[in-house]
């Protein structure tokens, strides 16, 4: 086989989300990235040409490439999270495309929950607006490790360095209140293609990377937690066949740390100690397992362990808590019921909980706490305290996005009503 066709084995995967206010150019930007990276097929292009003509547009509207369902096409807006894919020889990309409307905080939270990186668009003419703050806050709250601010529509401000610096200063001023590890700023024109895939010829003063270069090179391999060993048991594998008569394997996806064959481990909730006999996959035994690998562990002692339990290291354990403080983003029309009961899912563990207290609500435009406001409705973010029916094995969300997150479910309708981050 040629070297070239093997190159794909060196590619990794970056998940990112895009946010911006309406008309900041988000759809155009995504369309431009897909188009300039040659990720658009002829029949897709033809469909967009047809749709543009139908809408009476003279030029092909790149934004249409990313518009989804019929209802939206009719209303001319994007209303939910849509996923798009493209790849360069270096990386495969998954875009969680979320709309910027005020009422759709829930969508951005959804898209942000799995993202390594967020692109936040700012119109160079308007600078920082409420939405910019809100999107930045959500990116920070959801622990997205990398944020790229694209100052868009630079063509409409004569590609001026002053205009760019002004917006950048504004962002840095309020951004200091947020916790984002890695922040980038790029002046772009999505419409004309400046600094998206190709370096702009209109902005000599900008020495930094293009958006595509940034996406291809941002360092993501340390985004996972490789320190605190957490293995939530997802499923117990019992073949009960002649060849594997006594086999008992614990299947799951590593949520943190590095597990090795022979490691001493502790089991939660029982507290029993044992060691790892093998790390199995259909391709054979492996020596180490780390996030986000899905493997099957066998242990040297025959202990009772089932879904919802966790395998950890004795000297580095998560907190086993029944009383938790959680930042929630509310995602349902029915507001949070104070003292209400909800079902809870945390890693592979199911429990029920009662809301004991609403500590405060966050004004997502100013980032101020509104103490005493216990009204948490659709798209609201607030801090609550809950008591669960059994202990959950948790880490702080800022330390581990898997063992630090949970969802609340309405037990009557079964709908997912809130995303929760343990603080």
């Amino acid at each position: 086989m040629s070297k070239e066709s093997k190159g794909y084995l060196d590619m990794d995967l970056l998940r990112f989300t895009t946010a911006g206010s309406v008309d900041d150019g988000k759809s155009t930007l995504i369309g431009r990235m897909l188009y300039d990276s040659k990720s658009i097929f002829e029949d897709q292009m033809e469909a967009v040409e047809r749709a543009s003509a139908k809408a009476g547009d003279n030029e092909v509207n790149l934004a249409l490439l990313t518009d989804g369902l019929r209802a939206e096409r009719e209303q001319g807006i994007t209303i939910d999270v849509a996923y798009r894919y493209f790849a360069t020889p270096k990386r495969k990309f998954i875009i969680a495309d979320t709309p910027g409307h005020i009422q759709y905080t829930r969508n951005m939270v959804t898209g942000a929950s799995t993202a390594n990186l967020a692109i936040i668009l700012v119109d160079a003419r308007n600078g920082v607006v409420e939405q910019t703050k809100r999107h930045s806050f959500i990116a920070s709250l959801l622990g997205i490790p990398h944020v790229v601010y694209c100052i868009n529509k630079m063509d409409l401000v004569d590609y001026s360095e002053e205009a760019y610096n002004k917006v950048r200063d504004e962002i840095e001023a309020f951004g200091s209140k947020l916790q984002i590890n890695d922040v980038h700023f790029i002046p772009v024109s999505a419409l004309k293609g400046d600094n998206i895939v190709h370096k702009s010829e209109n902005m000599d003063w900008y020495q930094g990377a293009t958006l595509m270069y940034t996406l291809e090179n941002v360092h993501i391999s340390s985004d996972n937690n490789f320190v605190d060993c957490r293995f939530p048991v997802q499923y117990v594998v019992r073949p009960l066949t002649e060849a594997h008569h006594d086999y008992r394997g614990y299947a799951g996806r590593v949520a943190g740390g590095v597990f090795k064959e022979g490691d001493e481990v502790s089991l939660l909730p029982s507290g029993f100690k044992t060691s790892i006999k093998s790390i199995d996959t259909m391709d054979g035994k492996i020596e180490k397992a780390y996030p986000p690998m899905s493997v099957c562990l066998t242990l040297n002692d025959d202990l009772d362990l089932s879904r919802g339990d966790m395998i950890v290291k004795e000297n580095n354990q998560p907190d086993a808590l029944q009383d938790l403080d959680v930042m929630v983003c509310w995602m349902n029309e029915k507001p949070l019921v104070p003292n209400g009961k909800y079902a809870i899912k945390h890693t592979s563990r199911d429990a029920r909980c009662m809301v004991k207290n609403v500590l405060y609500k966050v004004d997502i435009n100013t980032l101020h706490r509104i103490e005493g406001d216990t009204n948490i409705g659709m798209n609201d973010i607030g801090k609550i305290s809950i008591r669960t029916t059994k202990p959950l094995f948790v880490d702080r969300y800022s330390r581990n996005r898997i063992s630090g997150s949970l969802i609340l479910i309405n037990e009557a309708t079964n709908e997912t009503v809130a995303a929760g981050m343990i603080v």
């Binding site: 086989m1 040629s2 066709s5 794909y8 084995l9 060196d10 990794d12 995967l13 097929f41 002829e42 029949d43 989804g68 369902l69 019929r70 209802a71 939910d80 999270v81 849509a82 996923y83 798009r84 894919y85 790849a87 990386r91 495969k92 829930r106 939270v109 959804t110 929950s113 799995t114 391999s221 996972n224 490789f226 997802q234 499923y235 594998v237 066949t241 594997h244 086999y247 299947a251 996806r253 590095v258 996959t281 259909m282 780390y290 996030p291 986000p292 899905s294 099957c296 079902a343 945390h346 890693t347 592979s348 996005r401 898997i402 997150s405 949970l406 479910i409 079964n414 997912t416 995303a419």
Partner: protein, 300 residues
């Protein structure tokens, strides 16, 4: 120390996680198996997910009766080699029971008839989760599909009222009579699937590889000459070198002219090709929102 996974390993791990989640959260899951590459990869991932145990759920093939013989041959061998449990739901049975009605005309296809057949099989077997090999990159309407997609008691999909899906915490709770569609390979693209097949050496039906076949052109699609299609007067079948990018019904699966007779060549072709794989399927062309309409009714 560099703890990183390449994109295929990460996708594999995600899919295995979803498959295990289905086995853990549902009582009667089923894996929809069409004999196409996506369902072949999905089943392969299921074998990895539960190894060394057998896959703890059956495969369901919704058989239109208009399959390529190569597909059926491949299916039966795979089932035999891996000890899978296969359930076949025949569209013909659904027609006989009056649950589905044969389309008329030259472009008649049994594609739409798979919907009532599938729904009937789900009801009869009390399946509460049906896993499909749908990928979000295939079509715009699929781009918004969740991994766990809730269906009401009429099996309808409501794109405006989907449960938010956060992190990798999947909510499979439901009321009696409702079920879920689950899409374990949502995040794979056509290219990822091919690279994975090559890397893992996964066997495929011969239809995917370049071969000689009598074909004719209709409405921009290249269709195989077969017993279920009647040629119109101006249509002529000719022997050509072709292959299929997707495998569905003989009545509507379009071929492409291709010399690609190995996985390496197919990957090269996919990399340079300028139309989506569904581009060859005449069922999608009926209208731009065709897929969305079919999905709402319960299409895979």
């Amino acid at each position: 120390m560099n703890y990183s996974l390449n994109h295929l390993k990460e996708l594999e791990s995600e899919s295995i996680f979803v498959l295990r989640e289905v086995a853990a959260q549902f009582e009667h899951p089923v894996l929809l198996f069409s004999g196409g590459k996506d369902s072949i990869v999905m089943y392969y991932l299921a074998r990895k997910a539960f190894w060394p145990a057998k896959v703890p759920f059956p495969l369901l093939h919704v058989d239109t009766g208009h399959n390529f013989p190569e597909t059926i041959e491949f299916r039966d061998k795979l089932v035999n080699d891996t000890g899978a449990r296969l359930i076949i739901a025949h569209v013909q049975d659904a027609i006989d029971k009056g649950l589905a009605f044969e389309e008329k005309g030259v472009n008649a296809s049994r594609n739409m008839l798979q919907i009532p057949t599938l729904l009937n099989a789900i009801e009869e077997n009390k399946f509460d989760a049906a896993m499909g090999g749908g990928r979000r990159d295939e079509e715009k309407a699929r781009a918004k599909e969740r991994f766990f997609s809730h269906r009401d008691e009429f099996s309808q999909w409501d794109p405006k009222n989907q449960r938010p899906e956060l992190w990798n915490v999947f909510n499979g709770r439901k009321n009696i009579g409702e079920h879920f569609r689950v899409f374990p390979i949502s995040n794979w693209t056509e290219m990822d699937i091919w690279q994975y097949i090559l890397h893992e050496n996964i066997p495929l039906p011969s239809l995917y590889f370049s071969h000689q076949r009598n074909v004719f052109e209709r409405d921009g699609s290249i269709l195989a000459e077969n017993d279920f299609l009647t040629l119109k007067e101006n249509e002529n079948a000719e022997l050509k070198t072709i292959r299929f990018r997707t495998i569905g019904d003989m009545t509507c699966t379009g071929a492409v002219f291709s010399e690609a007779d190995s996985l390496e060549k197919i990957i090269e072709e996919v990399a340079t090709t300028r139309t989506t794989e569904r581009g060859g399927r005449s069922d999608d062309k009926r209208s731009e929102a065709a897929m969305e309409d079919r999905k709402k009714e319960g299409y895979f």
